[in-house]
């Protein structure tokens, strides 16, 4: 089990190396290598998952190698209760996304698979890095393959969407880079201090940064995360990127990329800048609640199914941010499990939309109707995922949504149940936009002759969706399997925030180099 995280993190690179030796005409081989690699990565991550000690709040499977030793920048990876589920979610969705592209991607297949595997490395790196500099490298590196995936294999306006995605997220993260450098420099100004980007060391000293500076630090980090989430009003890149991206791109984008924003808030903003976090809690909560309602209302009137799902993400992600800033155990755990839930159900929705697009080459709601009769299996699975997405008890979405609302209702940090009351209207609106869309797509009479001859899902497609459905039900019925790992860590951060609120802070001190 030594260096297991590095194996997980870099195993996709092995596939890339292999691909260099494969002729680009041998499409089957290329697909097989891509899928096999990602399955191996998934298997490796499962080893980590099962060996992970849930009761332990310490960083586990730590690996640390000096990188730029003069500045105490290191290759420092590890996993804890906040990241373990997201790591497995990433390695779970990547093979699914690759399998989903089996037929729909034929052009420049080799480059495509390479980019997908590179993307996986980038995403895993973001979740595993415990050095801010290393984190930043992965954070930015991951943009590049995504940029190409949208820009090359995307739809009609792919270039606009890809550039918008790239520049928007890049602009946000530049400020974060400045903040990271400033943090490292701040460490060196302390008595006996030195420049460092080691996250664990910074955890010890950052909370004592003077308030006026802490606020700027928080803003620099939070802005880049808010864009990624995306939090209202930074969301407009998302519908464009989703509509233009190929199916696999959308799955990864919604399933994993958005989670980096919320993960960043938990990992960096709260523990590094607690005082500033308290200052900004009302603002973040208001923006989340606006996002929940606004995203749902705009989703409701979309005419393109994919765009509808994209706007619904804005609404769902608002719940997660609200849960994080409730700073209660219920809200925090709800937020983490909801990241997984959103990855599963929205991922599945994008897969399903992709499947129908492959058949009909349209995603306009008005071009459908009556599909329940012509493609019953597709319709049934779509409906199950729909109900997961709108938080029906017994399916996964409810567990997260409920805990988030429960936590935020009584939160001493939000200090008002009004946020929750407004957020809970999202429960009604989500039913409105999803069921209205379903009604127009699946029910009624078949109004377009093309829909009469649609072919129902094949074995590959059903096989692709079944694992997702399994987890949708599993998390809904017995969430403890997955919440066990997040409980101690959530408790820890909540206590940390409570202590910070009541003024119990550790004396700043930097451990020896």
């Amino acid at each position: 089990m030594q260096n297991i995280l590095s194996y997980v993190l870099f195993s996709p690179l092995v596939g890339i190396v292999l691909l260099f030796f494969i002729n680009k005409e041998k499409q089957i081989w290329i697909k097989a290598i891509g899928i096999a690699t990602s399955v191996v990565t998934f298997a490796l991550s499962l080893l980590v998952y099962f060996a992970f000690d849930a009761a332990n709040t310490q960083l586990q499977f730590v690996e640390q190698l000096p990188w730029i030793s003069g500045l105490d920048i290191s290759y420092f990876v590890g996993v804890d209760g906040f990241s373990i589920l997201l790591v497995v979610l990433t390695t779970f969705l990547t093979p699914l996304a690759l399998i989903a592209s089996w037929e729909s991607i034929t052009d420049r297949l080799k480059e495509y698979v390479v980019f997908m595997l590179l993307l996986e490395v980038g995403m895993l790196g973001v979740f595993l890095a415990f050095d801010l500099f290393l984190f930043y490298v992965f954070w930015e590196a991951m943009l590049i393959p995504m940029y190409f995936i949208i820009g090359i294999w995307g739809g009609k306006d792919k270039i606009y969407a890809a550039v918008k995605f790239f520049i928007y997220t890049m602009a946000g993260s530049l400020l974060m880079l400045i903040a990271i450098l400033w943090l490292g420099y701040y460490a060196s100004t302390l008595p006996g201090g030195y420049f460092t980007t080691n996250l664990q060391k910074l955890y010890a000293i950052a909370p004592s940064i003077p308030m006026n500076i802490q606020i700027w630090m928080f803003l620099a980090f939070a802005l880049s995360f808010a864009i990624k989430v995306p939090l209202f009003p930074f969301h407009t890149w998302l519908p464009d990127a989703h509509v233009q991206a190929p199916t696999a791109g959308s799955v990864i984008l919604a399933g994993v990329l958005l989670k980096m924003g919320t993960y960043g808030l938990i990992r960096f903003c709260l523990p590094l800048f607690p005082q500033a976090s308290f200052q900004f809690t009302p603002l973040m909560a208001v923006l989340s609640v606006i996002g929940i309602i606004y995203g749902a209302l705009v989703a409701m009137v979309q005419t393109d199914i994919k765009k509808l799902v994209a706007y619904s993400s804005v609404s769902h992600m608002g719940f997660i941010v609200l849960g994080i800033f409730s700073m209660t155990e219920e809200g925090m755990q709800g937020a983490i499990i909801q990241m997984v839930n959103h990855g599963l159900s929205t991922g599945a929705l994008f897969l399903l939309v992709g499947m129908i697009y492959d058949r009909r080459h349209t995603r306009e709601i008005s071009n459908f109707g009556g599909l329940a009769r012509t493609v019953p299996i597709f319709s049934t699975i779509f409906m199950i995922v729909t109900f997961s997405s709108i938080g029906l008890p017994g399916l996964n979405g409810f567990v997260g949504e409920f805990l988030i609302l429960l936590g935020s209702f009584g939160s001493q940090f939000l200090n008002s149940p009004v946020y929750t009351a407004f957020a809970a209207t999202g429960v009604v609106f989500s039913a409105v936009y999803m069921l209205w869309m379903c009604q127009r797509v699946f029910f009624g009479k078949v109004t377009h002759a093309e829909n009469e001859s649609l072919i129902d899902l094949g074995k590959r497609e059903i096989g692709l969706l079944l694992p997702v459905l399994l987890f949708i039900v599993w998390i809904g019925v017995y969430p403890s399997t997955f919440m066990r790992q997040t409980a101690p860590q959530s408790k820890k951060i909540v206590i940390q925030m409570q202590n910070a609120k009541s003024g119990v802070t550790q004396m700043p001190g930097l451990s020896a180099k």
Binding site: P233, V298, A372, P393, A421, G444, V494
Partner: protein
Amino acid sequence: MYSLAPLIVLFPLIGFLFNGLLGRKLKNEALVGGIGTFAVFASFAVALGIFFEMISLPVGERSKTITVFQWIAAGSFSANVAYQVDQLSILMTLIVTGVGSLIHLYSIGYMHGDKGYWRFFTYLNLFIFAMLNLVLADNYLLMFLGWEGVGLCSYLLIGFWYDRNFEKGTTGDAAKKAFIVNRIGDFGFLLGMFLIYVTFGSLNYETVFSQAALFEKGNSVIMWMTLFMFIGATGKSAQIPLYVWLPDAMAGPTPVSALIHAATMVTAGIYMVARSSILYALAPTTMEIVAIIGLATAFFAGTIGLVQNDIKKVLAYSTVSQLGYMFLGCGVGAFASGIFHVMTHAFFKALLFLGSGAVIHAMHDEQDIQKMGGLKKYMPTTYKTFFIGALAISGIPFLSGFFSKDEILWKAFADGSPILWIVGALTAGLTAFYMFRLVSLTFEGNERFDHHHVHPHEAPKTMLYPLIVLAVLSVVGGFVGIPHVLGGPIGIHNYFEGFLDPVFERANEKMALPMHDDPSLEYLLMAVSVAIAATSIYFARKVYLEKKEIAERWASKFSGTYKLLYNKYFVDEAYDAVVVNSIKQTSDKFLWKIFDVNIIDNTLNVSSKFVAATADIFRRIQTGVVQSYAVVFVAGILFVLGWLMIR
């Protein structure tokens, strides 16, 4: 037996999984229908076993909780999948599985030949599973699972014939409306749960109720939580202002209307209020609101029922109206009476709906009672049972409806106010009138259907047996709850109230209602309300069998009122115009097309264009011509030198 309680819930789940996964391939109606029906019947058998064991136990030992596993836990919050078997929950379980298995049996015949046969039984079993979780749960969260679960099944079953039209739209419209309106109620339920959790630190009934008993009456937090929960109840149990989905729910197959939209799911709200009786007892303001909303709904829905021509619509509005009675009972603190009416109503309303299903079946899907008439000749058994059901719901003495309705009316008078009684008794008159208008127009009088196309016939046996069983229950079902004033003198107790008493003990202590012992007044009120019902029946039969011109004359004389009633006070239209359309239009025209695209996104695009344009200006400096660089270079040196000298 108690430890077998999880089996009650498990059997329908197995039936659901079996039919859901295999039913499509089986293509065997007998097997699919048989398994579906047997699953519910097995639950009924287990429940009955537990019930008999319960009554053999001393009163103090009748309530037990069986925990299956921990469901959701985070921080200090925890909710289990655990079933609380007590007097109230076992009674509801018996109603749900008992009436449920009869309706399953009926469906075997009714759905014969439908291409979605297996789907129908799958959904029905899922419904029973959800409903049993609702009534057996030992905490609000599991109740909520059942609560939303029955909403889901209702959605699936209303839209069961998804390619059919229904009124102005499709069955899908009706299904969606039901789910969304229910969700509005669930929003209230959720907020109520959050308040309960922050107040008591748990959602577990026993923890909550034992702590609540220490609270003062009139506590404002308790008032808010009960009000929020009641919003949930108005959604599920179709009360003002959220009743609008129930009449449209008739788009589903008739057995669904009988099971879900009459006998079981819609009583969930009353069950919830009764289960939380201690909380409601602490909130007199909420109680008043519950009673008033209940009574208003009862009356209002009754008036609409007077003029509807769709056989199922009449029954639907009568359901809304009867549910109002049940809330009236709860609102004046007579929780046991409310639950008693839940039970008797389940018998006669299931009977009436199944009877109407037999009629619709016989008339080849015709539902307009103006195009029926004289059917008793063709379907005598259906007619007789339907007639009994109509008598029972009208409150004719010694049938089940009489006991439960009169109990509620008396409590409304004694513990509420005479006004409640007057409106309640008038509503009873309305009920009797529209029910016998329905009976007369459907089964009696001249035949108004087209004999060339329609050949009415009696229903098959699998459909008739449930009718007969339910008819018997509608007649005798009330004797378990004979009011003290009638049974007392001859030494018969109100077994029903006595049985449920321990469940409402805490609530009754808090309310400390005075004892009313005024038998002569009670007799008088009883006699008056029976007289009102009997007169209404007489007039309904007179008008619709002999003097039909009276009905027509009234309709034209009060054409304004008639139109208002016929169009259900235009409430749907008002909701559409004020709520639905304004949200839709604002979201589409403003939020999306103006705010999102033009304001937020354009700000972004404009700022990126600004950067590009600025860069374009500075780009020109980099001309690449060495001479111009040299000029700037020299100018810079001169400037710096000059500045240094001046300083």
